[in-house]
Amino acid sequence: MKEISDLILPDNVKYAEDHEWARSEGGAVTVGVNDYAQDQLGDIVYVELPAVGDTFKKGEEFGSIESVKAVSEMYMPIGGEITAVNEDLEDSPELINESPYENGWIIKVVPTDEHELNALMDKKAYIGMLKGSE
């Protein structure tokens, strides 16, 4: 189990309370689960992805992530339309463990409301939340 100080938490992504991350890349926002989530879940064996074209509101469940331990739901950090899903996860779900912010990205979203991205936590606020829940 990683100590909070050992977690990889990049500065260039925003953090949601349910441990997803979101990163603006041109018009779209890439979303994944963060290092804390993958460490807590353990070996990820299966990812259930939404379909391209689906739209969700902020906080809605968009898929599930299954580890050796449990099945966990993933929630939209922002509302919007799914424009891409990471198809590599189908054969290699362990990419989320190995590279949660790069090769293990999960979906790309065109946001409905840009402000929702800005409202997410930065690294400092997220660490504060984790420390508060310890």
Partner: protein, 422 residues
């Protein structure tokens, strides 16, 4: 406040993910990950800290009589094909029931010498089972029941290489491994017992070494005074790690035992009558499987219970699982809701090929067989289901197809003769 085993700091230093189980803070997995830990027990060997398990000694003139009355296995008919009595050096699996036929806990009973037995129960159950046995002893003066909770440590070494990895640490491996079948043991953990000379490590540590475990694979459990635990653990790992000995946490233990169709007490067996389940061998049935060969606590309730539940093992068709528990639903082929899921895990060492389930250890596995894993577990239903029948298991949005099976992970090694494993 949760309890800790003496290896707690070791688990933490190794950065294990920890969780509370049975009142103890235990490792779920190490950075290796539960998947590789599970596989290591099929290919090499895993080492588990199982010091959360509780040990009780039952001794005195009334000891056997008391266990015969409280334990579901018939101790006079339990060894081998001919059902001979439990004798010194042998162990038997069964359960302790309440009068109403529900389960207090399951256990392994080992006969150390005449009038002296060791009973291994689950974490936190040392005290309640000790009390239960005391309450049913006819005369307290003729039986002594001692709860050794937190006074013993236990290490499980499980996997096809277990004997080879243990051998260099034993003072006299030749003598120890000779004539040591499944569910037998040698030695004792207390220096004051003459039996303690049967199994000593090369540094003189006395251990009770049993050919038992909770993985379905070949291996041993090592019982010792708690004071020796850290030292023995470090010694085994220092020598064995490069040879494939992998520290394993409770997640791998759970998925391995499920694939081996072993129940988890308080989850797969519990507060409902201990009948109509895959562990009929734990009940004292006669050859025809109809009548009980002895009287025991709970027998009348088992014989006369109205609408008892049925427990069945199942295997899924891919690795996906659902969360078990009261919110899960089992639906039969006709679409009727018939029960709930007790356990649902992924055995990552198995997969289906055409109609058959193979394991990575199957000698006849298809060429290039690389399992992704299969979900498997136990369901509790209100109606009999046929082996091979298809059910749906559901929790929340997720619905999975599964099959009622007679066995889950094939080609397990637990019962292999010692001569093949050295």
């Amino acid at each position: 406040m949760e309890k800790k085993t003496p290896l707690n700091s070791w688990h933490r230093a190794e950065r294990a993910n920890m969780a509370i189980f049975g009142g103890y803070e235990m490792p779920l997995w190490y950075p290796t990950g539960a998947r590789k830990e599970h596989l290591s027990v099929l290919t090499d060997a895993g080492i588990f800290d199982t010091s959360h398990m509780a040990v009780i000694t039952v001794s005195g003139k009334e000891a056997r009589h008391l266990l015969q009355f409280c334990f579901t296995k018939d101790l006079d008919r339990c060894i081998g094909k001919n059902k001979t009595p439990l004798v010194q050096g042998r162990s038997a699996y069964g359960a302790f029931l309440c009068e109403d036929g529900t389960v207090l806990d399951d256990a392994i009973v080992s006969q150390i010498v005449d009038d002296h037995y060791v009973v291994v129960v689950n974490a936190g159950m040392g005290e309640p089972i000790t009390e239960h046995l005391q309450n049913h002893a006819q005369t307290r003066s003729s039986v002594s029941i001692i709860d050794l909770t937190d006074r013993l440590g236990k290490i499980d070494v499980q996997g096809p290489h277990a004997a080879r990895l243990l051998e260099p640490h034993l003072a006299d491996p030749q003598r120890v491994f000779e004539r040591m079948p499944y569910f037998s043991f040698k030695g004792y953990f207390d220096d004051r017992s003459p039996l303690s000379d049967e199994v000593r490590l090369i540094d003189g540590t006395p251990i009770l070494l049993s050919r038992t475990g909770y993985t379905g694979e070949f291996g041993f459990e090592l019982f010792m005074d708690e004071a020796h635990l850290i030292h023995v653990w470090n010694r085994l790992l220092h020598a064995g790690r490069d040879a494939g000995l992998t520290p394993c946490g409770l997640a791998a233990r759970d998925s391995l035992r499920t694939g081996a169709m072993l129940p988890l007490s308080h989850q797969d067996i519990g507060p409902w009558p201990f009948i109509n389940h895959p562990w009929q061998h734990a009940l004292p049935y006669d050859e025809r499987g109809i009548v009980f060969t002895k009287k025991f606590l709970g027998d009348t309730a088992l014989k006369h219970c109205a609408n008892p539940a049925f427990v069945y093992p199942f295997a899924g068709f891919d690795l996906r699982k659902i969360a078990p528990g009261d919110l899960s639903i089992v639906t039969n082929a006709e679409g009727n809701e018939v029960g709930t899921v007790l356990t649902c895990v992924t055995d990552v060492a198995i997969d289906r090929y055409q109609e058959t389930i193979f394991s990575i250890a199957s000698p006849n596995a298809p060429e290039g067989f690389q399992p992704k894993g299969l979900s498997c577990g136990f369901i509790k239903v209100n109606t009999p289901l046929a082996y091979g029948s298809i059910i749906e298991i559901k929790n929340g949005r997720r619905i999975l197809k599964a099959e009622i099976v007679q066995d889950i992970r094939p080609d397990r090694t637990a019962r292999k003769p010692m001569v093949q494993m050295r």
